[in-house]
Symmetry: C2
Subunit: 431 residues, 2 copies
Amino acid sequence: MMMKNVSIALLGCGTVGKGVIDLLAMNKSLIEEQLDTAISIKKVLVRDLKKYKQMKLPKNIAITTDFEDIINDDEIKIVVEVMGSADFAKNCIESCFLKGKSVVSANKDLIADYGIPLLKLSQKHNVDFQFEASVAGGIPIVRPMYSSLNSNAIEEMTGILNGTTNFILTNMAQQGISYEAALTEAQKLGFAEADPTSDVGGFDAARKIAILATLGFHSELTFKEVSVEGIEKVTQADIQHATEMGYVIKLLAVAKQTNKGISMSVYPAFLQKNHPLASVGGANNAIFVHGNCVGDVMFYGQGAGSLPTASAVVSDVMNVITHFNNQITGKRRYLWREDKKLYSTSRIMSPYYLRMIVDNAPGVLSSISGIFAESNISIRSLIQKDETKEIAEIVILIDSSPNGLVKKALKKVESLDCVRKVASAIRVVEV
Amino acid sequence: MMMKNVSIALLGCGTVGKGVIDLLAMNKSLIEEQLDTAISIKKVLVRDLKKYKQMKLPKNIAITTDFEDIINDDEIKIVVEVMGSADFAKNCIESCFLKGKSVVSANKDLIADYGIPLLKLSQKHNVDFQFEASVAGGIPIVRPMYSSLNSNAIEEMTGILNGTTNFILTNMAQQGISYEAALTEAQKLGFAEADPTSDVGGFDAARKIAILATLGFHSELTFKEVSVEGIEKVTQADIQHATEMGYVIKLLAVAKQTNKGISMSVYPAFLQKNHPLASVGGANNAIFVHGNCVGDVMFYGQGAGSLPTASAVVSDVMNVITHFNNQITGKRRYLWREDKKLYSTSRIMSPYYLRMIVDNAPGVLSSISGIFAESNISIRSLIQKDETKEIAEIVILIDSSPNGLVKKALKKVESLDCVRKVASAIRVVEV
């Protein structure tokens, strides 16, 4: 008997698209044996025909620049969207749903902005919409969140979700180089883009934590509700102070749910060296999830890259095909609670590491500590390091205080004549 | 409209059974909202009625000592088996399948011995059989293995899968106490059983790695095919030598698949301190999986305990109910390949740490090193420490050599008159 066959199309043929083509070739028989169904890539949508003719894709794959070629091909049952931009991708995916095609997407920008409306639309049209690769590349986290940790009330998720910034911070620590030098190296090696804002500004991590929080907290959360701070201001001096004090600096994406509400934020943080996330080096990703019954679980692996991301995309495709074969396409239930309550991140407490450049003169410490005392913020330690005759560097650790209060106090500190600048204000995470 | 209701029964009401009862009460509305179905525990099978009457279970739960009460109750659709022993559990589960009841089991002994025959039987009777909690408690690994990492050829799995031994080894390292003292403490705290053989002998970890390898390698593997070594011979001296050399000692469960075949083994090992598994402390579990596309992924969390294990059990129950609601009960496909090829663990190469007690006399080192030279095993380092005038301790690191060859050479070494005993032979894992 001939094996069933499912034809799919790719929208986009960049790093991830190429990975999907490669993976389906590498693991062809293993995948077909599990599904009892063959997968064939029938068409690939690209922007520039010439560029892709050089790639020498397998001959049975047709390359097109016209989305109509794909949407009007009734043989194509699954469309794999691996383009990256949000708006064009959204239009394409909506068209797919209307035509009864299921969609797998690796596009975090899209999912963070339009994930829930698209999921709802897919259910209306009885098709599948899956997006495991949109968070943390190949690490299984999206499906485990809704199909393995679903017996828990999820209370907190803390992740290192951006490989670029983790690569930069790891290199700053290991090689003693500046932020700028580490960024340049990351760009050279292809770990950072020419315009690195989305990564180093924390926006990419913010999109991913919004996706995870949406699933974990059963709430329609969006990227715009994440309080975002990047790593651009982290200096080699901060890294060295962290090392001296037994910490490493990581860009964390944090989502919390308490009875007061949900908060989501992205910020660089001092992590104690024995924290399991502290040893996540290079471009790797990791996510800590705290459920009310399971306790802490962690997922770790490569958060990007061609084949790791393709691993998640193809696993989604296999899932969609299993649903075809069991005739349950579009039947997954998602729970979205109506009463979304947000908790302002400015009210969240944490200790802080502060670094200031001040005049090297008497009375400076007393002025600064006076402001903290007024604000009811208590100082745990204070070290002054003379830089020159005129300038001194002060490093202060303050006890756990509401983030908003700390920011206000720092504005006052910065307005002091004797303070040249507040160079760093980085949260400290204690286990 | 009334919500649907699914009645379930528990076989056993120990730590895990109680956890399931507690979890279903704690997270009742969250679970029901996700499923659009209520779950009610109708009956619980126990051995000793008196004992459980004191537990004050919710009044709507009937307690029985007679399995017939459960098997003949047609209202009960899912049976949760949390007893622990293999043979009685197997009989019960087979009866459930025959009666069209789906089963969720947390019983690693059972799954390791009878997992595949039971899965096949469940499919024959069109019921579900799920067992996420049989490996690593609450950590999602069984379902991710077959539904998220399924796009990969799995090449290796390395896990810390036994909490008891990890607790003992962690305490030996942190408190400088002997194996015996650490075991006694673990028993006092309820982390080890009165007869600890299954844990400290490595058999529990062996059962779990056999289950994971069966799923990951699509091969009908059994516990009996695992080469097993426990931690009973690990001494405080070994721990100290490991620390001095930058290692920690962990009990690893390792399964590998190459084109030469599949090997499975459990053994204590020297792990470099920067290995991600090295920081897994206390009673925690972690599993590293290497897929040919996804690379390394790691799953980490509590491998035992009432609520963490219940988290996995209830997630399985929710899965079964989702299958009921979608009318796909018993339809999950598993791929078992026919051509199981085993690779003898005696042919696997690794460096070794060796510790010997010898006569403090001239010529001893030359006799020992002569035997290694004959066997083509090269010595990386050798340190002699005089214990007394008569006795010396020798610590040797040898380069990567086939395990079988090392064992043979050690037998020869031990037969030397000047060697009092080969106290330790522990594999070294290098990243």
